[in-house]
Symmetry: D2
């Protein structure tokens, strides 16, 4: 019976809600089919602080699976992030007003870390269930990538952290009102998708060999 | 107590489903708050035949409000169509293999007809309920516009047809799987949106004066 | 030997340039292969005034072909507009601060007018010359559509006006800098495209029967 | 006086041309303002072989600056790639029919390499010259990323290779005809942009501290 930590973010960029926290908080305490259970945690949308809070929650919960969820306004699909990169480059200030440019997240850290989720199998399961999903080749260079990189850096020295990764999710429909033409996904479908992702992660033995690539 | 005719289309363009009929058929027989009720009808995705079927259903049902619904793959919002134009120009063949080019729908008919739905008020109601919606300035030149134009031409000589119009709806999520990056809307939200549209139409006295325009 | 009036607009919406006038003013006085010549005129981006200026220029020039050009930021292709509709619905104020909503351009005027340019043949010629081009089913509801509708209304009662229509053009590359990801077209290609359009218009006898339609 | 190697690719994915080679081959032999000169080379769009050819050309030319150029159909800007990742994941087969999935480019190689071009300064120079340009956070997982990663891996052990990187460029206008709505860039502007990029690289001492980040 595994403890699974799911995190969502505070609203940022002028938004009043963040679909990642809306979805994650509703899954707090939920049990999966093998008896594993979900612990939900909220992260501030702040460089540095977000990672500090994440580490605390990982230690507190003793989670063996940690998946951070973030909003990707403009995307239409659940995006399974493939890789985190060692750079902060903020197009807009974070919620504490910080706007790092081309700063390393971990000094002397490796350039990147790959997700240790079975991202291809997850995408396949989601699509088998009628939920738009895709592998993404970039988590950006903002707080989401920052947290993703920090998480994978921690996991690299912490074998008990069996699976770790990051998933970007679309706007909620009510958010998309502010962005004419922007795609969205219902809260229910997002939550269903996160549960399918967890079931797939729990049962996977290695990832599937199916393409999830991009030509550019 | 008004009879409302809602129509949806057969699948076309290689699809196995059409969200317009999926939503509309589930609303068949449903009552609105003033006691009005919905009659659902399916139209073939065929030039000419679609209009013949529509006219039959209007006569049979005695509907005073007729709204045709069609799929607009790639759009993220419920699209309240403003205007129908008197031309068929098919980029792909219809379900009977016809592919008219620059043909008048009604010989000597006017170039266009405006919707007689309160489209601005409907968009506002939908958005007030958290449902992405917008006025659209073009219904295209395919079977959707063909039906829309034919409907409005009929309404022009049939005063009992108090409100008539056309609404384009997004892909369902399961359809969007085939189009990477394409937006979608859940069936439930689409159905909720259609009901809100009808309630607004029933209670409206004229349309709202709010912008729904495009610079191009 | 025909006189051809080409018009471009003032910058609007916070822009400092308008590609339509940049292209058109450089073509002033230019001769076509049959000896016809171009007269360029600038229109203010103002409802009403733009049409008044246009009518003056038509009378002054004695033009038999009148094509108005406007900017369509976000489009990647030269857009041959098919239809003008009888409504002003301004999403943003014009350059004089006016923002009409759902106002008729011509009281009691028809709902729409079709372009009298050979739009299919023009698109074909442009593409044969390697220039991205397409038929567009909507010119919007702003000053561009306003001018297009007013022009076609005038042409309807003025047989000497043999061809009239409207073409939307993309941003210039330097404009697109302000809109990350927005497509653009070089000034040279835009100008080349306008000349090809005129040569095709001068030599066309009727339009081509090729599709230029949209499913929605 | 520096030797600069610029590479472009063969056409792929059913295309008959590749804008990267069209631009690069026309710059072969060209001198920069400090007397440096350009050597152009064509790479096959094949995993493995492309890298072998690249290494040969680097050795032959003795280049100290190596920049590989590739086509990114659908992008509107010159894309300065920030990071290469150690994975081949081909959505479509390469020109030799190979379609690797989740294969390391260099076994035991690091997850990623950052470009050693002054990408921020280059973007700024390009934009100062009216050319749409942006930093990109992903070069995909196809042959472009494969070559980019292999190049940076080589550069890591070859100090004489002062600057190395990868740039994605848009379709040419004539290519974009096949993709309705797709953005494009003229060959001349692409070539001008590559020269500006080289001048900036030659004169830069470190990169600029300006944002080029993405929130996701």
């Amino acid at each position: 019976m595994t403890t699974i930590l799911l995190t969502g973010f505070d609203p940022f960029g002028g938004e009043r809600t963040n679909p990642s926290w809306e979805a994650v908080r509703r899954l707090d305490g939920q049990k999966l089919s093998d008896g594993s259970h979900i612990v939900a945690a909220q992260l501030p949308c702040e460089f540095g602080t977000a990672l500090a809070v994440l580490k605390d929650r990982i230690v507190q919960s003793g989670a063996e699976i940690v998946i951070c969820i973030g909003q990707a306004g403009g995307r239409a699909e659940l995006s399974l992030e493939r890789v985190a990169i060692n750079v902060d480059d903020a197009r807009i200030p974070d919620n504490a007003g910080a706007q790092p440019i081309d700063a390393a997240i971990v000094e002397q850290g490796p350039v990147g870390y790959f997700s240790s989720l079975p991202i291809k199998a997850i995408v396949q399961s989601l699509r088998d269930n009628g939920i738009p999903a895709a592998v993404s080749q970039t988590a950006g260079t903002y707080v989401c990538n920052h947290v993703f990189y920090g998480l994978m850096h921690l996991a690299a020295s912490r074998p008990s952290l069996r699976h770790a990764g990051f998933v970007h999710i679309p706007y909620l429909p009510e958010q998309a009102l502010a962005y004419p033409g922007a795609p969205s996904m219902s809260l229910q479908m997002t939550m269903d998708g996160l549960l399918i992702m967890l079931e797939t992660t729990l049962s996977a033995t290695g990832d599937m060999r199916i393409t999830g690539g991009s030509t550019h």
